[in-house]
Subunit: 478 residues, 2 copies
């Protein structure tokens, strides 16, 4: 059994003059005397003071950036600035060398682009240590939020035969051979020979299955991977990403908005409390990055200010119709600065419009509701006007759409009418329709893109930097 | 905004004579007077007392099993047996009808086989309410256990280009068309035209990526879906299942065993505390089921006894070599009752052998260690004997293998030697080898099949009954 103390604990310890054993990776080694050692338990390094006169030279040479070492020594009050404790080394053992010439992470600032190519090593940098600690905290906070409220965590299937939701392009899942593809008599691919006896895909959403469970447990949520086979090479899209999808029976759009706002505030507040060092570091990192931009492009608020601002303010709620009025009379529309000018009711809002509303007009998170039915999904509940549906999108500064949701159409006749209008085959969704057939009830839910949440709370700007091994067109490395 | 009170809260309330509003699904309606109403917040129903003399007959007729209703009334002390409170209904509204002739869930006992066909509705039964509440509690307990210990939750990729681990048959993930498959000049499928620019699969394990993160954060875990395209139609295998894979730097096999045992005890104990009603129900369900079996096949312990037994006893630790000795001299081996007789060292253990060790010989969870290298994976650490590796399997009564893990081979030369011997291409795993190239260190981890854990804690016997929508050969319904 290996016994060692975590650097996080030692940095908060005052048990001076006791013997300790630490293990970690060398960040820097100054003057053959001071090792900055990190074991990943926190962002901070512990300083190891080496008795260089009594340490063999060939050992000293092997204490290089990236090397893993084990140190036994005494915890002492630090004489240096910036830290309270040091470890005065009595013995040092090299666990794993790191050739200084070959190790990609030098003790200097690397670009995020460079680190993306080294995604297997970038966790060892301060920035990615902070990002993934915050990601962890947000994931845990989500589970805790829903658990406290009595929601049931559902694992909806990743492999589905349903492609009826129409949320986007899907990946095929198959065990068929491209070279010896079984064919029917008509020459079509014979999917009855495939693993599942039918054509299957990777899910784009767990919502439809989530609704089934909500109609039994009352309140459920999913937290799992979802997929889009879209050729989007942007800083906001991934082919594989994680989504949280709560679904609540006996709830309308207003319950839904309240749940979403409560959740967002809960998890942001959890991260602020539990990741103080990480968020402080990311706050400073963002300030540095902003300095490289022209004055007018810089954010008015720091990261911490922006997070606190979200906690302290009610999200602005307005209808799509009200938003269209604001946009129509906005300066960028009047001056034709929008790429897509807002002319009439019914237009789909583009990112530039969402950002104008959130960042310029309201300057806080915005919940847009009651969209035209024609730009929304078949399962959203028709409003009494017959033109709009009880949908909501939650827009966040710098991110755009963070959450999309709706009250669901619980009335069988209205639902099947919409399905027919939108050419969605009822036979395929017989199980979904059964919830409306047997004990239907008002219900509502939404989807939160987890990586967009992590982007917002970390202040990172490229979604590929907040997931461990990003999947996007032409890239599935690691 | 819909306001309603949860039945779980009302059942524990003593606020008699206050007005309440409840919504839920009708389980039964007796004598035109007593509705058993369930809203999924707990297993228990609340009794609604209907003033049938003053309720229109056409409304009474619509109060059928499975219908969703909303009831406003007064909370009163119950006069009946088995419950403390009733709701005396002042008004009842039908939210969603349920045609009594068509509704598949009648107020009687249905077989698990029948309910598997109705997986979209089975959550509405007591058994599946209990199973999925326990599943939720176990998932939350896992996150809480690792969070308390400072582990970082990693989302390792579901789509991978790596097929090097050799853990089993994989599903292809592709956007290529079977009818217009792009071909290279040599006539091979041209995967450079595929979405990711290469052939990709669904992951069989997040371990290799998890190791990368452990070598930076020190302690990580994954909790995500994994896949096997194996044609296994058994009660213990799924094509899509969830796995928990912790990985710890500066850890050996003994640390690994301790972590696994601590985790299992933590989550079982959490479920016992937080799912009292559900486990009591499942305990009784299992007793009933056992009664249908011949005496000698019945379990000696009840479900609750079995769970407590795991908490109170140390897991039995022994080596593979010791296990072979026990098995060789065991009665079923001597009497040739094993299907696969244990003859010599090196044999792979079958389910019958594992069950003998756990259920007959030791009668508690068993950790088997130090398996012959030839029956284990390339990344397991070679022991000094040159014959065995630092692997561990944890075997549970009634389940068999619950956990498989090992100390990892951290020595570059030993690792590449094993890869060569086992024909695993080094080029494909360049990123994995980099962890041994730069700051390698002893580390260990394991994988826990989540559904097997749920099987054990719920006492269910078919793995298809503990996941919402099971995926197995020829079946991807819902």
């Amino acid at each position: 059994m290996i016994q060692r103390e975590k650097i996080k604990d030692l940095l908060n310890s005052t048990a001076f003059d006791t013997e300790v054993k630490v293990m970690g990776w060398v960040r820097t080694f100054r003057n053959n005397q001071f090792i900055a050692l990190n074991d990943g338990s926190c962002m901070g390094n512990i300083q190891i003071v080496v008795d260089f006169a009594n340490t063999p030279e060939d050992l000293l040479k092997r204490i290089t950036t990236g090397a893993a070492i084990s140190v036994t020594g005494t915890l002492v009050e630090s004489l240096g600035k910036g830290q309270k404790v040091d470890v005065k080394a009595a013995s040092i053992e090299i666990l794993g060398d790191s050739n200084a010439e070959e190790y990609p992470l030098q003790p200097k600032k690397h670009s995020l682009e460079f680190l993306r190519e080294k995604a297997h090593l970038r966790f060892r940098t301060n920035t990615f240590n902070a990002v993934f600690k915050v990601r962890h905290a947000l994931a845990f906070a989500i589970h805790q939020f829903y658990n406290e409220r009595g929601f049931v965590y559902m694992h909806t299937p990743v492999i589905t035969a349903s492609d009826a939701e129409g949320a986007g392009e899907m990946f095929k899942v198959t065990t068929l051979d491209f070279d010896k593809t079984p064919r029917t008599d008509e020459g079509k691919v014979d999917f009855s020979e495939d693993f599942f006896g039918r054509a299957t895909n990777l899910t784009v959403s767990g919502q439809l299955e989530g609704e089934l469970a909500a109609m039994a447990f009352g309140q459920i949520y999913t937290f799992g991977p979802t997929f889009r086979a879209e050729n989007s090479n942007t800083t906001r899209h991934l082919a594989e990403f994680w989504m949280i999808e709560p679904e609540v029976a006996f709830a309308d759009l207003e319950n839904n908005m309240q749940l979403a706002e409560d959740m967002m505030k809960y998890v942001i507040s959890y991260a602020l409390e539990n990741c103080k060092d990480e968020i402080a570091f990311l706050n400073d990192r963002l300030l540095e990055e902003e300095k490289t931009k022209p004055q007018q492009e810089r954010s008015e608020l720091s990261l911490v200010d922006k997070l606190n601002f979200c906690l302290e303010n009610e999200f602005q709620r307005l209808t799509y119709t009200e938003a269209i009025q604001i946009l129509k009379h906005s300066k960028p529309n009047q001056k034709k600065q929008f790429k897509y000018l807002i002319d009439e009711w019914g237009a789909d809002l583009q990112s530039e419009h969402e950002r104008y509303l959130v960042e310029k007009h309201f300057k806080k998170p915005v919940i847009l509701t009651d969209y035209p039915k024609d730009i929304k999904s078949f399962y959203m509940r028709m409003n009494d006007d017959g033109k709009t549906v009880a949908a909501m999108d939650i827009l966040f500064p710098g991110i755009g759409e963070m959450i999309g949701g709706s009250q669901r159409e619980e009335r069988m006749d209205m639902l099947t009418k919409r399905m027919d209008e939108m050419n969605i085959p009822q036979e395929e969704l017989w199980w979904y329709l059964d919830t409306r057939r047997f004990g239907s009830a008002p219900h509502a839910g939404f989807g939160l893109g987890f990586e967009r949440l992590v982007l917002f709370v970390t202040g990172m700007t490229n979604i590929r930097d907040v997931i461990a091994f990003p999947r996007f067109p032409k890239s599935a490395e690691f």
